[in-house]
Subunit: 468 residues, 4 copies
């Protein structure tokens, strides 16, 4: 999948390690796939919070030698962010750090609140000012205005007023608090390293710093870490657990374990299921790299067809590519992928991708493969048609840009010029993501089904906070 | 004067011109001497505010072609800032721009509030969060919480709660408001260009954009500019007018008119007065460039001595100079100034500077001139000894670093190794700055006399907001 | 293969297209894997040569909009370069462009001359000066001193004096000349686009610009392109054809066709052959991505074992990664690769890589896989032990750093802590690279066998031009 | 003088000091006014030469901490350069460093050869290649081809073949050689620091590093410094000494001593002489800062008129100023200078500048002063009309751009809209620059008189090496 849906954010936190900021840097580095636009770290030395934030990749923002000297202390939290167009400026970098009556607090947020606008309006009406367009700032205001004596209570009081998806990591001078929303939309895991507690959006961050994976936070769980250790709370009343299936389809790294399963294994199972649902008489299976590879392996395995590297990825794709002028425009996907004629020529080819958003990229890929001599091209998508926007933190285009929202599978097949097109069924997806187990979790499939597990106030186009 | 007291901020605003952001850029460029650390512009197109802020010089922060396309509209305000060590990060850039219940508002501030910490604590106690360490943010919070219906009333209500020095320019979607504190500590002038109203810290900004200078704002005056024109208000009860004499001594550009006088003329008059108070039998007068030049011209004129360019300034002094390693350190002032031996050798020299802060730089200059062969060196300072910190917006070092706070003139003379040392008297300074007129304005001379015209809460070292 | 042998250079040229510089940019972009340290383009408008060169990736060096306006004309050549440590400065960027008696000439070079030092010494003795440490400059000097009347003759005269490996592209105001050394060590292909002739190190460059692949240049062939079209010459006496087998093993992109074969197909065949030579009782096959993937696919296919993505690559590995301080050092390969425990745990694993250089990286990978729970680890290398340095353009470490030069396979197996280790045999490699055909080409296998097809003057350590 | 004639180059060298590269950096810093486009240092540790060169100011090019670690050794030479449009790329940075038969050699050059093109053509015809467009490369080629055994003889042999202006500093592994052309067009001084010999274009470089000024090199003198000390040679037959008078008028820093005189003193004397030649009934004298100040002081002194700072310079003029769009263009000189109305209003003003090139800037200044209320404006220029191009190293515009080349003084007066205009006479200039002494040196006045002391081959427009 290229240039389609985009991952949004990743969070990290560590408490109790002398190299807290360094380890946060490494953790963010491992979570870079969840957001490449900006990043930041806030560290505490027990008395003050210090921050370093910037636009760009982790390895660019934290490239000078002396940055870590300015982030001393045994605790730190970090954030990587992808944001929607228009909100991509410096002021929206996270973690957000503020002073309020009880001292300083910083927060890193992955997710999206569905009632942020309402709460913000109420807050503004009672005199709050907002410096960012992020719904995260709303949470901070609520905490600052909360009347409870203890921080934990103030956070709980505040989170009871917001609805939607959030995996949050807070840092104060002396504590780290991590919390998942009651639905458990976004992943958040707990680990341990040299006696320090670590939290991260995905377990791949633990692997890099060689922390031990302990468990995922439960939906609705809040953990508080301070010098006396870790405590767990369940401040919300129990709710249906609806983790985001798209994390498994596309967002998370294949070497991460989220929602109880290894992403790689789930993706292969999507491929198995897809092969069962949409078999085809073909010679070879090829993947759209890199995200389509595990599903393609599963499809090939189930179908008994050989998997080939029919599309080669150029790993030097820069962020600053200048499109040549005049006649030679529109290179787009060609800059990233090149078909291998010798493999494809004269073959009936199954092409596996994880999703189709606007359809334009798929159309280019099909044409490229056709030009390389394929006899037949059968596109198989390892997820159902994406027809509805996400309100829980995935940056989907608006419905009018989603080709599945307005076109039948037949029409899409004609548009992308494939010989056949098959999408994984919603049922098949649920079967696969739970590995056909009995203990079916109710994964959120709103982007496919339109059934939103957390209701939101009126749907006003372009008014929801930076969502569409 | 090198590396001593530093100017702090400059503000600019324009309403009603199709090139508002461009002209703000030019205005800030002319005010660059008032702050080199960061700058920013906020523009309004009548519906939204847009901002561009950054660390560095105006010509660096606004160097890309497309910046002005992102700052459309007929109104804009701008700010240049010098800040104290520690507070020099991105988040303290101005103008500050926020959303609140009534829309968006931006503000650029020159000055310093003396009760910012108290007000901030009250605000935090009632739930406000603070993103910056600037006392300017306090004013925004007060406005957001004010209950009055009209913006003008809300601003007045807020300003009645703060005390200290401020020249402020606000911008909303549809209005520009400029206001000087009742004491009139900091300058602020009103001009007009092609029918648009312009405000700026100093008149030199009008010269560059070819705006007509109309008048200075009165102390305590608030002007409101919108599509219907300009209105003036006097929301404060009358107070003693105490403009900052240091603006005339060092801060303002010599080609600016502030507090009713041309800065250049006042500086020459300081020199005349100094020559009358501390004459000396000498051969030549030389200035410490560039700020000492007008006073040196005045001194030479009054004393009937020739003025010579005995110290040549290197105009390529960079911001990133790397001190060479090992043996050849401590170039300091030599990188900026070089004495001309042929002029100085064998001469009795009067050296004019505008102030002495720590004494270390003066000591180096005296030694340099001595090494160039001077027979006698008589240092004359065109202001009184700086013995007290400023609480109204000048970034002075703390008292213990001010050599005059703890040493007699004799001791300073010995320390800087001059043959004689004379400071302008406080009385002489008042005489000169008012050009010996009858209508003596009560200039604030707190940094010399310790008499502070606006009282402040307890003086807690290192606790005042970013002051010391 | 990480941090081991490095590809060296890539060349590109186009004559007769109005977008020559733009297309060269795209061509270099596709050849980026052959050199990431510096790049450059020289263009001709028929009268003058213009150049743009710089340190860094193609997308960084050519990132400003106006660069191509300064590279006008219908012809251009380009170069990407990796160079050995110490020679990595600006002055060694290519194409080299000089003025000489007949006008201007530029050259882009892939390869290494074995007698460059001798020729350089002779040239210096007769008064030549050298601005770079590249042996390419030697060729330019020879051309400038050649006595023949025609440029073609001068180039031939010069090339007869040098020995070694070279694929060269020259550009003058009015002509483009491309030539491969008589042994044909380095690849060079000819293509056509809209009537313009194109040359490139690898055919993947043609794919991106949508040029038609015509054929590879023959070893020893020189082609000359000018406004009257293309002419081919064979200026050298026939020599044994010894293309570099390492291009197929590691350097070239898998989607390129070089030396008559698709790289991807050859790599899979290496895997097949390796499975026949070193079968093992195992559960899964995993590749060291990305270069080991095709051989792993071949191995798995031949062995009838499942291929799994057991090592996940982090695609955001930056060039400026700051190693954290103190205790948490030595991340090295962990930053790039992460094992997937769920796949590996309890399994007997075959790990396929394309080569082992120092052994340190392989050792880390084996440990990583062991820590992820593998029961057995069988390392299989899809090439023979690399025991000898390359003198024909591959940047190998010196012999003392090559673990195979001084250690037996058993010793290496113990060092990298694998359960078994198998290298492809030299014979098997020749069988595979020629696809078991009768028409065996005599690929150069000097880095494995020590049999160098082109002799070089005394081997003086560290004296060969920037080679070791 | 703004945007008119530009200084070209500065050279520096030191031999025998453990901080050679550091001191070169400081020396170049002091010489920055002689060239701001690029700079470089080459250092020798006795065995190898190492270089660091780059585009930009000294403080920018040498801004990273580790640069000096890569420039070890007891000897170093440096260069600052201004170059003409078109030749402003990286490859023309100096010092030029090459390898040749006898080892390595680097050279820094200030000046311009008049027969560079002829010599270059001869060299190319015998097989030399040229990497730069600088005539300095010609000298290196001649040295490489010279047949003499000793380096000194080879340099002499080479310099006998070139004609024109040059102050050169060479560095080999073990020696530093400095030489001035027989006419002595460009300055070059000798100093000493801690036993090490130092050479620099101007003595202000000695002042900064606290080296002792010994003497200027004689025209035609060559000095050779090695571990055994310094030796002086006179390899040329005696020639008329014709130092460049423009160095005194504009180029050199006022605190430098060149050609036997302090620049500041000479400039004041130009002012005295100008006042005698073109007195005027006026109220005040003002200078165009900064270069016009010493002459203005002299004029005021001689005329008995008060000198005032009527034009204030903005010291924050950036190199990257973006001209605002649309209506508010053409700020030009206003960005740099602002008139002080209070001083000028109603006055008869004498304005002193050092030269007029195109006249456009003078016209803007006159208008600015007129707008500030001047009653009369009398422009006085402290040099004769500049009517001829310089072939000896000053980057003058071509004749058609020089207003004096085609217009009478009356016409220029009308064009710049002054009330009267007076230029210093050629005779007066010679009187002043020699301080009315008997020992008149024959300063080169070719740019005023058209009498060129060193003849050049045919004058072909645009063909001379990068001159016009």
């Amino acid at each position: 999948m290229f240039d389609k849906l985009h991952e949004e954010c990743g969070v990290f936190g560590i408490f109790g390690h002398p190299e807290a900021a360094n380890l946060s840097y490494l953790g963010l580095y491992a979570l870079q796939h969840r957001g490449q636009e900006s990043c930041g770290i806030v560290a505490s030395d027990g008395y003050h919070l210090k921050s370093h934030l910037g636009m760009g990749l982790v390895s660019d923002v934290f490239k000078k030698d002396d940055i870590f000297e300015n982030l001393p202390g045994h605790a730190a939290i970090g954030h990587v962010r992808y944001s929607t167009a228009g909100g991509n400026d410096m002021k929206n970098c996270q973690p957000i750090m503020v002073d309020y009556a009880r001292g300083s607090i910083a927060v890193a947020h992955n997710g999206n609140l569905v009632n942020a606008m309402e709460v913000r309006t109420q807050l503004e009406n009672s005199g709050s000012i907002f410096s960012t367009t992020a719904d995260t700032e709303t949470i901070i205001h609520l905490i600052a205005r909360a009347q409870s004596d203890s921080l934990i209570d103030r956070i709980c009081e505040s989170l009871h007023q917001v609805k939607g998806a959030y995996s949050l990591v807070f840092l104060t001078e002396t504590r780290m608090i991590a919390v998942r929303d009651p639905n458990g939309f976004r992943p958040l895991s707990l680990g341990k390293l040299d006696g320090a507690y670590v939290v991260a959006s995905e377990s791949c961050a633990f692997d890099l710093i060689e922390a031990e994976f302990i468990r995922e936070l439960d939906p609705g769980e809040m953990i508080v870490v301070d010098k006396d250790g870790m405590k767990s709370f369940s401040p919300f009343k129990e709710t249906k657990n609806t983790p985001c299936v798209f994390e498994h389809i596309y967002f998370a790294r294949p070497d991460s374990r989220i929602f109880g399963r290894m992403v790689y294994t789930v993706r292969k199972e999507f491929g198995h299921q897809l092969a069962r649902e949409y078999p085809v008489d073909a010679d070879i299976v090829i993947a759209v790299p890199d995200s389509g590879v595990p599903a393609a392996m599963g499809y090939a395995e189930e179908a008994g067809l050989p998997l080939e590297l029919g599309l080669i990825r150029n790993h030097y794709v820069g962020r600053t590519f200048i499109e040549p002028q005049q006649s030679i425009r529109h290179f787009g996907v060609k800059l990233k992928l090149n078909p291998v004629r010798e493999i494809i020529e004269g073959k009936k080819v199954v092409v596996i991708d994880d999703s189709i958003v606007r359809g334009t990229t798929s159309r280019k890929i099909v044409k490229m493969i056709r030009n390389a001599g394929a006899k037949e091209i059968h596109v198989r998508i390892s997820s159902p048609p994406t027809s509805y926007p996400c309100f829980y933190g995935i940056d989907t285009p608006s419905r009018k840009e989603l080709i599945s929202a307005s076109h039948s599978i037949d029409e899409i097949n004609r548009y992308i010029t494939s010989d056949s097109l098959g999408y994984l069924s919603i049922e098949g997806m649920h079967e696969a993501v739970t590995m056909h187990g009995d203990d079916k979790i109710g994964f959120c499939d709103a982007c496919f089904s339109g059934e939103y597990p957390v209701k939101f106030p009126r749907l006003k186009s372009d008014k929801q906070l930076g969502l569409f």
